[in-house]
């Protein structure tokens, strides 16, 4: 209402009215007396009191908007973090190489489990988005695993601790420093007698030096280390065999025969990426048998068995009349080796639960973890080492013979969780087989201070309980959750008078500390680390700490009285003291650029192993339990990582859960079905977890994994799974015998991505033993009565790919099933996480899945892994049925998905025989959490609800390479385009390239005789093909193969 609408009051009339006593006796306003329409309306409107009177007033609305705008703007200003102080100037001139829209790569390293892996981080305008392996780094060789891939999600995790907390209340770094310095002053009085430091395994030379300096200043203080997933058995084994800690490094490229004693060296543990790659190199060295030349008649008829489609098409594109084999076929043939000369390395694996390493084994013997020692004794005895006969096993004579025949080209590897005796025996066997110096070398340990960590934390708990600890500072780790349960770390911790915890998350341990300091992620802070062979890498940050995180370096600097000294300066100064002679700036810049510090590998030591005297372990008759870090969330440090939670565990393909793994026979014996809740009782402690029947698991044995049953530490990890640490004692950190199970009556629902375990007589994975291969080299494409190879038939002429013709070959012979490709793809392509409920409904979004099949009997099956991305079929069934042309074929043969055009009929998915298409059934992408915005790859569309998506062969990378090549007016070189899956793959099982180029690696792989197409009988003519798996069983163990 504008003022002009108001009735003008006739004051004279009002006076008269009041005088005459006609108006109200008591009146509130002149309007009331006048009984104006406005007043009447006001009285009539019951809701006037609750209505904002000026809501419709344009002038006030504007003011309101202005005020809001200003306050939001000002609030934004105050929220700005302090700008970094180090050399930063506005771009007066744009820095060289810095082009907006183009990523830059920086070398750094991620430390995990006591060793660092060199990485190259892709950074878009200062935002790290993707992790790649550093090819120059000895632990990576260009590959990475899913922990590395998912670490970038951890960086942006909104649940990470964001503020310094004092007794649960938000405080500040300054206040923490003041409190800490007070403790420091007090400690000075008694030389630090009550001061304890607890770290995880420290491999950073700088941090090691800082801690040692601190201990020099306070000689009575003590430094303890506890890494829940540490290699306690390996440490004790080396100690036992050599009397000192050493660091074994295996040279698997030199090994023809490998015996793994419960060692999953291909998928976890130090050097796994390097080992996987070397193992694969050896395995594939001499297998490139080219296809036989097809007969002329076959080609005239258009006979096509899928595999040589690319070559044939290419021949056709040169000249349609020319039916002779194309030159490329000849070349490919020439490149191959005669089939008689094909050799393979051989892997024997003895283990309790199937692992990716077990999947690669030519002979896999499931046995209880406690029986491995007996096996090792027997094997050692057969090799003339050790004084005990051990437990006889039918395979031992043949294995021993094989080892002896390959002396110097063989190696025995003991698993990290096996007791010291097994390690000592393995060392002794390697020595007697002449492997030392060839397939295994020993170096000085790379840890800053190698200790027996169980003894270390035991001492700490003892001191805590004795009241000797005044001040306890914990750097990383989560000991309340992960320390051996018999130590009752939680109550011991609370006896320390002043407790501080530096960690990424406000977790179970932080809850019981006076101070919690958010830790800087490795992508946020300077440090250094060492590879398994000792090579140092500088950890350089890619971004300022998102949540004001601090690194251990900063805390030690503050303790050393150098408060405010940046970790950058700390690391740099440390290395200046190490490299006095060199031109330091050049050294520093070169090392940062390359991601490795040259000549820092640990020194090789000459040691002589001595075999242990007597068995240390007697396998009991009853049920035993094996405790291991989880395949995907590790010791719990990745519990809040959606990518890793949703990454199907390589063995079970379950997500978002841990389970009690049990063998089919034992399950039958106890009447247990998958999903039954089991009460697992071990040494008087009990946890309740659901059973998962796993073929190939050892009988009378259970395997459970750490990392679940968290109670604090993020929104994703709470309340899922059960806490296996509740069963882990200091005496038996890897588990042991005397376990009882009882069904609790409840059932648990597992969200698995693969329900059918077997190939159902379809042979998506084609397998032959080496002998069969030599007999029938084309076994993979052989015609069988039930699988008629179709004639290549179409009414239309083939499309001629004049330019590039992209294709992929996946070598099943080297794929270890580690699933790094799945997570690398998720990181590269902004793939959403859907959660357990949706995975349970079959709605997971990962573009490349790793299928796992069992073959043979259920007790000792063979395991096969098969990564399945989009096949990019030449005759793509999906393209035909899309009503809106949202999925179409590109001129380079890529089956493209146009998200913007998709209306979501899902017909394409129905018609896809490979079921590689993924649909956004709901709005899976998190559009609201701001901290995820910078995570996303700006080159890939973020998909919204209701659209189909799938593998694109990383088309953004193809296009980036194309732009570069077109600038230089050349073709894209082979190997210039590497999709994320291939890049991460530790065994280089995935090869991508242009099949129009006969010299390309992928074309040559496709010309191999082992090459076959999945479901080739459908005549979809996939661009993604597979190289069949070869196995190399020992002929002497014919009847004993597992």
């Amino acid at each position: 209402m504008t003022p002009s609408d108001k009735t003008v009051l006739d004051l004279d009339r009002l006076r008269a009215r009041l005088k005459a006593g006609q108006g109200p006796m008591y009146w509130k306003s002149l309007e009331e007396v006048a009984e104006t329409p406005e007043f009447q309306a006001f009285v009539d409107d019951e809701l006037s009191a609750v209505r904002t009177p000026d809501w419709l007033d344009p002038a006030n609305r504007r003011t309101f908007m202005k005020l809001m705008g200003a306050s939001i703007g000002l609030a934004g200003l105050t929220a700005c973090t302090k700008q970094p102080k180090e050399t930063i100037v506005p771009y007066v001139r744009q820095p060289e190489e810095f082009v907006p829209g183009k990523p830059l790569f920086y070398a750094t390293a991620m430390t995990m489990g006591g060793f660092g892996t060199g990485l190259l981080i892709e950074s878009h305008l200062g935002r790290p988005t993707k992790v790649e392996g550093n090819p120059d780094h000895p632990n990576s060789l260009g590959a990475s695993d899913y922990f590395h891939q998912a670490s970038v999600l951890q960086l942006y995790d909104p649940d990470r601790s964001q503020a310094v907390l004092n007794r649960g209340r938000i405080s500040s770094w300054i206040a923490f420093q003041a409190a800490m310095m007070q403790e420091r002053e007090r400690a000075n009085l008694n030389k630090g007698a009550g001061v304890r430091i607890l770290t995880e395994t420290v491999v950073s030379p700088t941090l090691g030096a800082q801690i040692k300096e601190f201990l020099q200043q306070l000689p009575a203080a003590k430094w303890h280390q506890w890494d829940a997933a540490g290699r306690h058995g390996a440490f004790a084994g080396a100690q036992g065999a050599f009397g000192r800690p050493v660091n074994p490094i295996y040279q698997l490229e030199q090994a023809d025969v490998i015996v793994s004693l419960d060692a999953d060296f291909l998928s976890c543990g130090p050097g796994n990426l390097r080992y996987a790659q070397h193992f694969a190199n050896r395995r594939r060295a001499l297998t490139n048998v080219a296809q036989k030349e097809r007969s002329k008649q076959d080609i005239q008829e258009g006979y096509q068995a899928g595999p040589d489609a690319p070559l044939r098409n290419q021949a056709a594109s040169h000249s349609e009349e020319d039916t002779s084999p194309s030159p490329s076929l000849e070349q490919a043939k020439a490149a191959g080796v005669p089939v008689e000369q094909v050799t393979l390395n051989r892997l024997y694996v003895v283990e309790s639960a199937p692992s990716p390493t077990g999947g690669m084994a030519d002979h896999r013997f499931p046995m209880k973890a406690s029986e491995v020692e007996g096996f090792a004794w027997a094997l050692a005895a057969a090799l003339g080492v050790g004084g005990q006969s051990g437990t006889a096993h039918k395979a031992i004579p043949a294995i021993a013979k094989d080892l002896k025949a390959n002396a110097g080209k063989c190696v025995v590897i003991a698993g990290d969780y096996q007791p010291a005796a097994v390690h000592a025996l393995a060392h002794a066997m390697n020595q007697s087989l002449g492997a030392v110096g060839k397939t295994v070398v020993y170096t000085e340990p790379i840890d800053a201070n190698p200790v027996d960590q169980i003894a270390s934390i035991k001492e700490l708990v003892g001191d805590l309980n004795a009241g000797k600890v005044d001040t306890l500072v914990m750097f990383g780790g989560n000991p309340v959750y992960s320390a051996p349960v018999d130590f009752d770390f939680k109550s011991a911790l609370q006896k320390a008078k002043w407790r501080a915890h530096l960690s990424l998350y406000n977790d179970e341990t932080s809850e019981f500390c006076h101070w919690h300091v958010p830790q800087a992620h490795y992508l946020e802070s300077w440090s250094d680390t060492r590879a398994q062979d000792g090579t140092v890498t500088f950890v350089q940050p890619l971004i300022e700490p998102l949540y004001a995180g601090r690194s251990a370096h900063e805390i030690f600097s503050a303790l050393a009285g150098q408060s405010g000294k940046s970790p950058h300066d700390t690391v740099r100064e440390y290395w200046q003291t190490q490299r006095k002679d060199a031109d330091f700036e050049i050294f520093w810049q070169t090392s940062l650029h390359d991601g490795i510090v040259p000549n820092t590998a640990a020194a090789i030591v000459n040691v002589t192993a001595k075999a242990p005297a007597a068995p240390t372990q007697n396998p009991g008759q009853g049920m035993e339990i094996v405790l291991r870090p989880d395949p995907t969330v590790w010791d719990g440090s990745f519990s809040n990582n959606g990518w890793l939670q949703e990454c199907p565990k390589p063995q079970t393909k379950t997500t978002w859960d841990n389970a009690v793994w049990i063998s089919p026979a034992t399950a039958q014996q106890h009447g247990v079905a998958t999903g039954d809740e089991l009460e697992v009782k071990y040494q008087g402690r009990m946890v309740t977890g659901a059973a998962w029947i796993l073929p190939g698991h050892a009988n009378d044995s259970l395997t459970v994994h750490f990392g679940y049953g968290r109670t604090r530490g993020g929104r994703l990890c709470d309340e899922i799974g059960f806490n296996a640490y509740q069963l882990r004692t200091s005496a038996a950190p890897g588990g042991g015998g005397g376990v009882e199970i009882r069904k609790s009556g409840g059932t648990h629902y597992f969200a698995s991505t693969q329900h059918t375990q077997t190939m159902e007589s379809r042979e998506p994975v084609r397998i032959a033993t080496l002998e069969e291969f030599k007999k029938t080299p084309d076994f993979a494409t052989e015609k069988e009565p039930d699988r008629p190879v179709p004639k290549y038939m179409t009414l239309y002429p083939d499309y001629k790919y004049e330019g590039y013709k992209w294709g992929m070959a996946i070598d099943l012979n080297t794929c270890v099933g580690c699933s790094a490709c799945t997570i690398a793809c998720q990181a590269e392509n902004n793939i959403a996480v859907v959660g357990k409920a949706e995975v349970g409904k079959g709605r997971q979004m990962q573009w490349i899945r790793v299928d796992r099949y069992f073959k043979g009997n259920i007790d000792e099956p063979e395991l096969y892994y098969q990564p399945v991305p989009c096949m990019h079929c030449e005759n793509a069934p999906c393209e035909l049925v899309c009503p809106v042309a949202a999925t179409i074929h590109s001129g380079e043969g890529i089956n493209q998905m146009v998200y913007n055009r998709c209306v979501g009929t899902r017909y394409c998915s129905n018609n896809c025989p490979y079921k590689v298409r993924r649909f956004n059934f709901l709005s899976y992408t998190d559009w609201d959490t701001q901290s995820y915005y910078p995570l996303r790859n700006p080159d890939v569309t973020v998909r919204s609800r209701g659209v189909m998506e799938k593998c694109t062969y990383c088309i953004q990378r193809i296009n980036a390479a194309k732009i570069e090549s077109e600038k230089a007016n050349r073709r894209i070189a082979d190997g210039e385009v590497v999709p994320a899956c291939a890049q991460a793959c530790p065994t280089q099982a995935i090869t991508f390239g242009d099949i129009n180029d006969p010299k390309s690696k992928v074309a040559q792989l496709k010309a191999q005789v082992r090459n076959y197409s999945l479901l080739e009988e459908l005549n979809t003519r996939p661009r993604t093909t597979y190289l069949a798996r070869l196995r190399n069983p020992n002929p002497e163990l014919g009847g004993v193969t597992a």
């Binding site: 899309c882 899902r906 017909y907 129905n910 025989p913």
Partner: protein, 476 residues
């Protein structure tokens, strides 16, 4: 019309038996009265069961509203669909409703051209049912889209993107087939209604009724000129609609047959889908006609003869469907194709084996009772059988869509589909919507074609066919 006359019209009627297509003693006037009275009678003389029926149907319809509102809000994941079963209840229901919608056109068009006079009593009714069933079916393709607001991208329209639909996709053919069918069905139904709407206009006593019927009667005066042109137009529309009976479900079957999935990729699908559609359509006509004729005392207009004819059509089409099932099994074996054989065995014995067994029971085994005349003439059994066949035909679509998809080529991607609450709500809701429309139709419009009934009486008189003599109670 006197009160006595009105009461007379609402008295229980006597079914003249299976040899007569109309009861005794009808004249042009009485047949008009009788049919028009169903719609024109005062509200208070509407059978109570009608109120109960529409109340239940209307409540069921709310499930559709709530279910689809949630679906639009939450996304298509509210359905139970997943990978590998990316089509679920939406497509099952779509095909089922479209199938039901086939009886109308068949009766109207093909039987018209074949001069089957028994069609007259049920054609209007069946056409309305067709229209309402197609309306239900038409909702599903949109409800099932991932981005339903973009459904119009399936239509060819000039746009700034210069993009047309992809003509090789059977879904595009579907758009044309179903929309053509819906349009022609609507026209056919409406054109057929015009003379009757004029009769209603003339008989209505209330002004608003006169106006409403008059508006839609398009000024029909019943002049000879009108009738001449009308007959020609109706016949032409019948000719136009005839191929649609075959084409729509053929095209719908292409949705499956064009794909490469075992269990879908079958050449027998088109004829067997059409037969199945007519089968289910007639079953639905029976399901609706039997209670209606009872409720509104129309036994002398929808006689046993009609019911028996429909039962015979069901038996015939049911046998074609049975042949289809048999051929699927035979071809699975005869092709020697591993995947086809597996698909068939899995269909019968896999996790959804129950649905296949029920399907065989409902669609093949039980309907064989129709061979018996006594069954065909037993109204309660016919009613139950029609329900059984409706269920069976729904199961057929369930079996085709779900069991073919859930275990296809690579065992690693096998999975199981479980319908959600939303799946059921929307399904039940469409039944409610359909029934609501049917109830309203019966009460508002002449459910039986008045002028065609008059024509039938006329023909009967002219041909001197055995026609019951007018009884004294019916006068002109």
């Amino acid at each position: 019309m006197t009160v006595q006359e009105l009461e007379e019209l609402e008295k229980p009627a006597i079914d003249p038996g299976p040899d007569h297509i109309v009861g005794a003693g009808f004249t042009n006037a009485t047949v008009t009265d009788k049919i028009a009275n169903v719609a024109l009678r005062p509200l208070k003389s509407t059978p109570l069961l009608w109120f109960a029926g529409i109340a239940i149907a209307f409540m069921m319809m709310q499930a559709l509203l709530i279910g689809s509102a949630w679906l639009f809000y939450r996304g298509v994941g509210a359905w139970g669909v997943m990978i590998p079963v990316a089509w679920g209840f939406a497509i099952v229901n779509f095909v089922w409703w479209i199938g039901i919608g086939h009886a109308g056109t068949l009766i109207s068009a093909i039987l018209l051209l074949l001069k089957q006079d028994w069609r007259t009593s049920i054609n209007r009714f069946a056409e309305a049912m067709t229209l309402f069933a197609v309306a239900q079916a038409g909702m599903f393709p949109i409800l099932h889209l991932g981005r339903p607001w973009l459904f119009y991208w399936l239509m060819p329209y000039p746009n700034s993107m210069w993009l047309w639909p992809q003509p090789r996709s059977p879904l595009i053919w579907d758009v044309f087939a179903v929309s053509t069918y819906a349009t022609v069905s609507l026209l056919f139904w409406y054109v057929g209604l015009v003379p009757d709407l004029a009769s209603m206009r003339d008989r209505a006593t209330k002004l608003w009724q006169k106006r409403a019927y008059g508006l839609f009667a398009l000024g029909w005066r019943g002049s000879t000129k009108h009738w001449t042109r009308y007959q020609m137009a109706y016949l032409l529309l019948g000719g136009l609609a005839t191929p649609l009976v075959v084409s729509v479900h053929t095209v719908v079957s292409f949705d499956f047959a064009i794909s490469i999935m075992p269990g879908w990729h079958t050449t027998i699908f088109p004829p067997y889908f059409v037969a199945g559609a007519i089968y289910s359509g007639f079953a639905m006509v029976l399901t609706l006609a039997i209670p209606t004729r009872k409720l509104f005392h129309l036994e002398d207009i929808i006689t046993m003869r009609h019911l028996e004819c429909m039962a015979k059509v069901m038996l015939g089409t049911g046998l074609i469907v049975a042949y289809g099932y048999l051929m699927e099994a035979f071809m699975a074996w005869y092709s020697g194709q591993f995947y086809e054989r597996f698909m068939y065995l899995n269909r019968a014995t896999g996790p959804y084996g129950w649905s296949y067994l029920m399907l065989i029971g409902c669609n093949i085994a039980i309907p064989q009772l129709l061979w018996l005349r006594s069954v065909r003439l037993n109204v309660p059994i016919l009613f139950v059988l029609s329900l059984v066949i409706n269920v069976g035909m729904w199961l057929e679509r369930f079996v085709i869509v779900i069991t073919s998809l859930h275990r296809d080529w690579l065992p690693s991607s096998w999975g199981e589909y479980h319908p959600t609450q939303v799946d059921w709500m929307i399904f039940v809701g469409t039944i409610g919507f359909f029934l609501t429309l049917m109830f309203l139709f019966i009460r508002i419009l002449p459910a039986i074609s008045i002028f065609e009934m008059r024509e039938v009486l006329h023909h009967l008189r002219h041909r001197n066919e055995p026609h019951p003599q007018p009884s004294p109670s019916h006068g002109d």
